[in-house]
Subunit: 229 residues, 2 copies
């Protein structure tokens, strides 16, 4: 019996989401490769986190056609991942068009076959880069499509436990639940030493700083987390 | 400028949908390989139909993890595709869990990058096998998720022009629009001579019979279309 399918990218948010979900019952871990720049490092983090939680049921799904479709700095090498700017209002070039719908579709198909009732995704709306497919309203609408588009009685819910949390709260929650934050990877640009400059690093560092916790992963030095308040 | 992305499986319904969509503006054709039994034949039909309409913008997407996820006779060779029975009420074993969400996600991502405003899918609710992800309500809910999960102003609509049509009406519409019905393939089981026995063949044959039109593709003989009224 599998209670939940958890989307685990290998980043901070998915590790904390996994910590919350595995506490509630047997889980299956799903990782999606969309040919993003740092996929090899993220896949390593996925397996490390799954090992940490002794999860046997793992699936890695390849949707690298998102690279062919392009339109994002994460999948198109010709578009540079910019220095982060968390004060920016427009949607950043790292947005991968409608990506989360692909992730959720894979998780829901697997959940339906496994008989799992919950699909977890570590999306964050407030303290985020502002991707449209990270909005709470998107997940609500998608959940309605799941109810209507799966077998009667499948009863699969989309769970977004972090959606309203600040990054600092996520870090504190992770520490509280003993999530393996040291095994996670968030940087958009560098697979060995996190750059501390892209949006993803800035959001992560600001979260650790706000929580008063030292981030255990290696960064290029020096870095300043307060350069983009 | 691309006006629409059309999901073209290579079957009757998608060919008629394509005939309707290409008439309204420049289109891009998208085919999805989910490792179904007759994919090679369907891909050939896709390219034949795209050639017929002189469509240059084509994309073939591989989501063969649906085979790994399994749970359907179309993707799991251990589950036999049964003799059709259109009087059946339960969801048939050929249902591929939540498949249409994967198809739509790929089409929407591509549409967002191309700037296309319409995504066409040839789904049919009434005169169909009863798959939950072919229901009109599913497409309405998914369309809401598309509006919320893409860039503000992307303005992408999900178009299901066949959703309320009977198969015989679809055949008539195809003939009226000179859709290349002779290039299509619908059989779930056989890539060379359509079996005339699976649900997909039975629905197709009933449609041609109802329209009073001879189906131009080759079948194994003899067959009786009225065995399952």
């Amino acid at each position: 019996m599998t209670k939940s399918v958890i989307l685990v990218s290998g980043g901070l948010d998915s590790a904390v989401t996994a910590a919350m979900a595995v506490a509630s019952g047997p889980s299956a871990f799903l990782h999606v490769n969309y040919a993003q720049r740092t996929e090899a490092r993220e896949l390593m983090a996925f397996n490390d986190i799954a090992d940490y939680y002794k999860v046997g049921k793992r699936l890695v799904v390849d949707i690298s056609h998102l690279k062919e479709i392009g339109g994002s700095a994460l999948t198109d090498e010709r578009i540079e991942v910019p220095e982060g700017d968390l004060s920016r209002r427009e949607i950043p070039v790292t947005y991968v068009p409608f990506r989360n719908a692909h992730l959720l579709s894979a998780a829901v198909s697997w959940a339906e076959v496994l008989g799992a009732k919950e699909v977890y995704i570590g999306a964050v709306e407030e303290d985020s880069s502002g991707y449209p497919d990270c909005r709470k309203d998107f997940f609500t609408a998608f959940g309605e499509a799941v109810t209507l588009g799966t077998r009667p009685g499948a009863g699969i819910s989309i769970m977004t436990p972090l959606i309203d949390m600040r990054k600092s709260e996520i870090v504190r929650k992770g520490v509280e639940l003993k999530a393996p934050l040291h095994l996670t990877w968030s940087c958009y640009r560098d697979p060995e030493l996190a750059c501390a400059r892209c949006d993803s690093c800035l959001l992560r560092l600001r979260g650790f700083e706000g929580a008063g916790v030292k981030d255990p992963i290696p960064y290029r030095t020096p870095y300043r987390t307060t350069s983009n308040p």
